[in-house]
């Protein structure tokens, strides 16, 4: 891996920004250079929101993501907004329970899994992160779990790690 650009997208409240922070911190724990940027202001509340991550083995200069190598979409409006930015050869990962697209994509019903298997809809983002980690291998599994443990609210670590493992298993299927 030389340099990868990733865009997480969804609607406000799904924990999209947290997904970026977890992946970013995991990348740093793995010894990589990471730059995270996010949209600010009214556009970041509700509607379609996004977090951009660049992970690289060498120093990152230009800090912005324009045409991501991977686009993760957790909502239909986010997909509609950001799909045009995805690189032609890029990977599209969707929550298949919430998002429909005609473009070639991979994914899992992350929100449904979170509700049915964890009993907690709000860990859908972590389920998705597990799937992403398994599919891309950009960052080591241990670093991802360490980052989750340090960034989720205390007391919810176990549920979040469980969510990550479930998503990871889906990714390895």
């Amino acid at each position: 891996m030389m340099k990868q650009e990733i865009r997480f997208s969804g609607f406000g409240g799904q924990g999209i920004i947290l997904m970026g922070h977890i992946l970013g911190k995991a990348g740093v724990l793995d010894g990589k250079d990471v730059t995270l940027t996010k949209s600010y202001g009214p556009e970041a509340r509700g509607g379609a929101c996004s977090t951009d991550i660049i992970i690289s083995n060498s120093r990152i200069n230009y800090p912005q993501v324009r045409n991501p190598d991977v686009l993760i979409s957790m909502s239909q409006s986010a997909l509609d907004t950001y799909l045009p930015t995805l690189d032609d050869d890029g990977i599209l990962i969707i929550d298949t329970g919430l998002v429909e697209t005609e473009r070639e994509s991979i994914g899992l019903p992350a929100t449904k899994i979170a509700e049915e298997e964890i009993g907690l809809r709000m860990v859908a983002n972590i389920v998705m992160l597990g799937y992403f980690a398994a599919k891309t291998g950009y960052v080591g599994k241990d670093a991802m779990k360490d980052a989750i443990e340090s960034l989720v609210p205390s007391g919810t670590e176990e549920k979040n790690i469980n969510a990550f493992e479930i998503g990871y298993r889906w990714g390895k299927k």
Partner: protein, 387 residues
């Protein structure tokens, strides 16, 4: 903050840099995109017994930190364009009274309330000339969260060493991006504290400089009688509104920076050795410019990069030397319609052509935009800056 590798946004790193430098007093008024500095300080100060005051406005904020500094604290405020404009009067008071403190100004799109959530570099000349009168200033421009940490410490060090308010001039992109920040162990940090008086209180002249043109500073409550005024003052600190005192004091305030510029000045160069053209860029745009240099080199253009880290004092002699020794063209990329470009043009003294890659507030230049400018200049498709 425990030493080691962290994943931190620029504003948080700025606050941590301040704490590492010994800052224990902060007064401010929240404003996008600087608010995270205040939030972090407010959260962290109880742990270190620091004093955080949320003030009624930015005038009060800067005045409070000047007072705290005279009480012996390392003090700081943080703001953005609209608040920075309000601080200009007492920024001058701090310069005139030689009060060590740090102001972080996170640039957003202007004029006026402008673009609160988006990047710009429109305050560069304001840091130099925004307050009235003749002043010598120190302004540091970070380009990453790591530098927000490092240069905030440097700003405190320079403020203590040369006794003046020092500005950390960030921008929205640098302040809001999150990257790896390495925090060294405390014992590895170089921390400078203000010089204290050697003379007994009866003989102490509070504005009598040492050889480095900086007077030692007696804090309130240390037994020294100190009068502090924004009026032109003599070495005793008393108002003396005559031409001779003015000449002596203001000359020293400017020489204090000018004659110590070798110690203060910081800049980086990239591939300048054989460069026909040198891009000058600072802050977040420097990162796009670095990539543009690589693109240009790949296409056979001999392009280099000069990046001021202290925008004031400016690396004027270096630009003069480069212009005299083979650099034919300077291209200044900045998120405004031309501020530092005037400075570069002045420093070339007619020995090179100077061009501008302007950008309106909202986003940083893309490497491609800078590259297009490089190509256009080489094909003589755009007029040089003077035309």
């Amino acid at each position: 903050m425990e030493p080691g590798v962290h994943f931190m946004d620029g504003n948080t790193a700025c606050a941590e840099g301040a704490i590492a430098a010994g800052c224990t007093f902060f007064a401010g008024y929240p404003i996008t995109p600087a608010s995270e500095i205040l939030e972090r300080i407010a959260n962290r100060f109880p742990e270190i017994h620091g004093s955080y005051l949320q003030m009624e406005d930015e005038l009060a904020s800067i005045t409070a930190i000047l007072g705290a500094s005279w009480a012996g604290r390392k003090a700081m405020t943080a703001t953005s364009g609209p608040g920075f404009s309000l601080m200009m009067e007492n920024y001058g008071l701090g310069l005139m009274t030689e009060t060590p403190c740090v102001i972080a100004n996170v640039m957003r799109g202007g004029p006026s309330t402008g673009l609160p959530t988006k990047v710009a570099q429109g305050d560069v000349m304001q840091t130099r000339w925004g307050t009235h009168g003749d002043v010598g200033v120190i302004v540091l421009v970070p380009s990453s969260p790591q530098e927000m940490f490092d240069l905030t410490i440097e700003a405190f060090n320079m403020s203590e060493k040369y006794r003046l308010p020092v500005i950390v001039l960030s921008d929205e992109m640098v302040s809001h991006m999150t990257e790896k920040v390495e925090i060294p162990p405390k014992e590895e940090l170089n921390i400078i504290d203000r010089k204290k008086p050697k003379d007994p209180p009866s003989e102490f002249l509070p504005f009598c400089p040492d050889e480095d043109l900086v007077p030692p500073m007696a804090n309130a409550g240390e037994g020294y009688s100190v009068h502090v005024t924004g009026l032109t003052h003599d070495e005793e600190g008393h108002p003396s509104v005559d031409e001779k005192t003015q000449n002596r004091l203001v000359t020293r305030l400017i020489d204090k920076i000018r004659k110590n510029a070798d110690d203060i000045l910081k800049y980086d160069e990239y591939k300048t050795d054989d460069a026909d053209m040198i891009i000058v860029a600072y802050g977040s745009v420097y990162r796009a410019a670095t990539e543009a240099v690589d693109m240009a080199r790949d296409q056979g253009y001999k392009v280099g990069l000069l990046r001021p880290i202290t925008i004031w004092p400016f690396p004027e002699e270096r630009i003069y030397d480069l212009a005299r020794n083979g650099t034919k063209t300077f291209l200044v990329a900045e998120i405004n319609f031309g501020q530092i470009v005037f400075e570069v043009e002045r420093c070339t003294a007619g020995s090179a052509k100077t061009y501008l890659a302007p950008k309106m507030g909202g986003s940083i230049h893309t490497p491609e935009e800078i590259m297009e400018r490089i190509v256009a200049i080489n094909q003589e498709k755009i007029p040089d800056f003077k035309e």
